[in-house]
Symmetry: C4
Subunit: 304 residues, 4 copies
């Protein structure tokens, strides 16, 4: 197979003593566990902007309650006589908790207010902490909303489809967001594992390897010509061979005016032979094109 | 016509069973309806930053009133005795609404203030909601202001103008913003529809295809030489042929230090033959160049 | 002169009926007045982030006072009995102004507080306006601080300096900020005006045209070989010819991880013949390199 | 040595009269002292976002206390009777300090509140200053968190390792952050100092010079073939020669969708001959790859 476009290791290593998991998961993540990592403050921020909205919301509420309980405790322990205007019908700690909430949020009704050095000092600290907390929440929320991120859906399977006089490997993708991606480039690398668990990498030529506009779906085509590692392979080859097709996509996100990247992979055993993708779009009676996003995985037998 | 620079589908598809609308509207949008789209939280943010200022302002006010009405209702229903210092001359609900406004905005005059567990708890929730609201408004406003966005005006028509010994297809563009765009690149693709409603794509060579500086207008020229699909075509060709010239522009926005994209298209039937663009700029008596933005569409007969 | 690297108009136009000002000022701006421009909300934001700090501060204070005067007037006119807790020793309008300040800034001491529908409603509007104002100030301040912007100082003059066996045109530049610029590219275009006030453009080859690192100054060199428009020109040529060398620099700002652009120009008559730039940096006794930023314009006669 | 890939000065200068420090420190900084620098407001911002978290926190607290002491002094000096509701058991200055804190943070309990023109005016100024302070803190914190910044660890030493039939110079790098870097490019330049303290620069060819994916470590290889400046050099050459290998890395940070740069250098005397890097990653029993970040510097003798 050395006649094909064998390429250097694109970053995954070549020699392994034992069987490894797939290189790239369908969601684009890698099966690598990082040992001995040291975390910086910035990594906390990264973690916060990558949390799901549900967990982020829960964390926000939890933190809001906890920090106010802590300050309530400080007033309770350090300045038990430092609050004026408290309600006598509820406990001092509860009063201090509500006072803390009013201070932290800078609402400051003033019915309850600090008297004496200690409670005034704690309140001063608390309002600074509140400020920093608000600044961070503003920054995290903004980041969560505004980072450019390609949300491209790939067909679940790659297929072997008729193409000109021969065949081709095909997969397709569609932009899941209504924002426009432009100038999309695709790269495909075939990884095959040999007998010694070593990995070999081959470039798969694509026709075309880029498109200017991406308002519809894009079916990426690798023609199976003599130069292709898939030339003259029977369907059993795909089922029996340990291998993976690494897909790398980059484009320009018009909303953020920034380049975005995404990736996925197809295992050889998940390739469907003799199939054709079903059309994803059609024209309605007004001449408007309807793009059916949920048809991204639809294919049918090529014999039909 | 196969001798010309026929190119692959740039992303719009080739085979259609029926007549479709133009590919790109003059404002750069596509005539594609997305069916089966699932929305994420981030799409709400996108929607907010793409709303017109009028609608955004109205939505902001509406949301501000609604959220405070909701909290007023919560005080009214859950804690009808939980506010102290209310005005007896107006209804409790109105009092609660004003108290809610004072809490949500963190003004907290304190004349009205919560007493008891329930109203204090609602006020605590409200001030957290207020914080998140303010953080989002800050982020959305900043995004609305600060996203790089090319605002390039194109001439309403493309024209066929004399050029050297022959003719050329021309259109022109001008930067509508006073910020500087640099290093502008243009691409033009001709789309022709054949008898079977199939679309064919041809590259149109431009001279030059890029400019370094863009302080004035730029007249983009496609010389109609033997290699051009427009070679030796009569004016009736443009009127009778279903086709569209897709224009794609990219440049570097100096204010944001980011690449920006824009696009438009010209229908063949909108091309004006034997015309010349009128000058858009002139020199005043100080040697200063005056650029007349509203002359972008001005052309005159080439026979004059 | 047609044997030289004559190039197309880089965006300034070619034909002018009368004398025009220089194309690019030394600060990189263009001498173009835009007529008929329509302003968007975003342009206000651009204007705010490009104001000098002095004017921006003055504007901020002025706006803060004005908006509070307006709200004071609203309380005064629409709700003259709507404030409780005012000081009787000062006028109602002054009281309303201070109340407005306390509301707009969300301090809300509460000594003064609104009573009745009208003043409560005005206060509600004011706190929303305050929020939007704060959000905008946050965004504008952040933009003013955080936009990547090259601050490159160019030598005041370009010089004709000895180079190898012949001569060269040279200018130099230095990064004025302590942030790092990397991968700097330079382009130089000569513009000459002919008898008909028409402009001709020539590329000037640079050696090298880019550098990887930019911790020191960079002397950009155009060797005056046979292919150069300056070949065999006497000093009088520079003094008597109407022409301008357009300089365009781009690099990568490491702090912002973004490409930045800057530009300047040299008039032919400002070129100094037979000169050499004086060194801008030296090594101290520790082996540390001292870069003297204020020597950027220093040159001496080449005969010394 | 002129037969090798001698290149132009990449930006460090060539002629020096005396010995200089290394060009690039291991952390990527340059040994250049800038003399005569003028600072802008933006440079303060840069300084704030580059401070360590510890110093930044201390500065924040210090500034918060100082600005409130200043305003306390203003109330004390200009308006000694301007605060109502103060505690008689503590000094007026302390009262004014706490009042200032309540105003600056916009908490505004209201127990203490200004009366008369002067204290109201000071409070109005203070709340505007507070606003600007909060806006700046929000911006600085956001910048500190959100700027893309490559945190790539390089092996402490470069090594001379066996490679194919001959030898190669190798160093390796690993991404210290859990965010993904893609499309990594490496450049290596050898700087040699000749007898006159002049610097000569040579390009070192790398195999490969880029990788697509970077989930693991990357060992960058310069094969020592006939074209290499290291061809047929004995270990003593590295020990005795004054020289430095400049390393420049760029890649695409997927989290921020921006290009990031980093750099380092190796002194020739720090090169270890006849060594091999120990593997940094292994496969666990699940097929998951374990990447040991703390093994980045591990190498062993090549004779083993």
């Amino acid at each position: 197979m050395s006649m094909f476009d064998k390429i250097r290791d694109p970053g995954f290593g070549e020699k392994y003593n034992s069987k490894t998991k797939r290189l790239i998961n369908t969601d684009g993540s890698f099966n690598v566990t990082r040992v001995g990592e040291k975390y910086h403050v910035r990594d906390v921020f990264q973690w916060l902007i990558n949390l799901s909205w549900l967990y982020f919301g829960m964390l926000l509420v939890l933190f809001y309650i906890s920090i106010n309980l802590i300050f309530a405790l400080l007033y309770y322990v350090l300045s038990p006589n430092g609050l004026e205007g408290i309600e006598s019908s509820i406990s001092f700690f509860t009063n201090a908790f509500f006072f803390s909430l009013q201070t932290f949020s800078t609402v400051g009704y003033g019915k309850m207010h600090p008297i004496g050095m200690m409670s005034n000092a704690i309140a001063a600290v608390e309002s600074l902490v509140g400020l920093v907390f608000y600044a961070i929440v503003t920054g995290v929320l903004y980041s969560r909303f505004s980072r450019p991120k390609a949300r491209v859906a790939f067909s679940k399977n790659a297929i072997i489809a008729p193409y000109k006089e021969g065949e081709s490997l095909q997969f397709r993708l569609v932009n899941q967001r209504s924002t426009q991606l432009m100038d999309i480039h695709a790269k495909a690398i075939l990884m095959l594992v040999d007998q010694q668990h070593h990995r070999q990498y081959y470039r798969l030529d694509l026709e075309p390897s880029s498109i200017q506009f991406f308002p519809l779906s894009w079916t990426v085509v690798h023609p199976i010509t003599e130069g292709s590692p898939f030339y003259n392979k029977a369907p059993s080859f795909y089922k029996d061979t340990e291998g993976e097709i690494l897909i790398f996509i980059r484009g320009f996100d018009e909303t953020f005016s920034q380049e975005v990247h995404t990736r996925t992979s197809y295992l050889l055993k998940d390739i469907v032979c003799h199939a054709k993708f079903s059309p994803m779009f059609e024209t309605d009676h007004d001449g408007e094109i309807l793009l059916h996003l949920n048809k991204i995985n639809h294919y049918h037998s090529a014999n039909k």
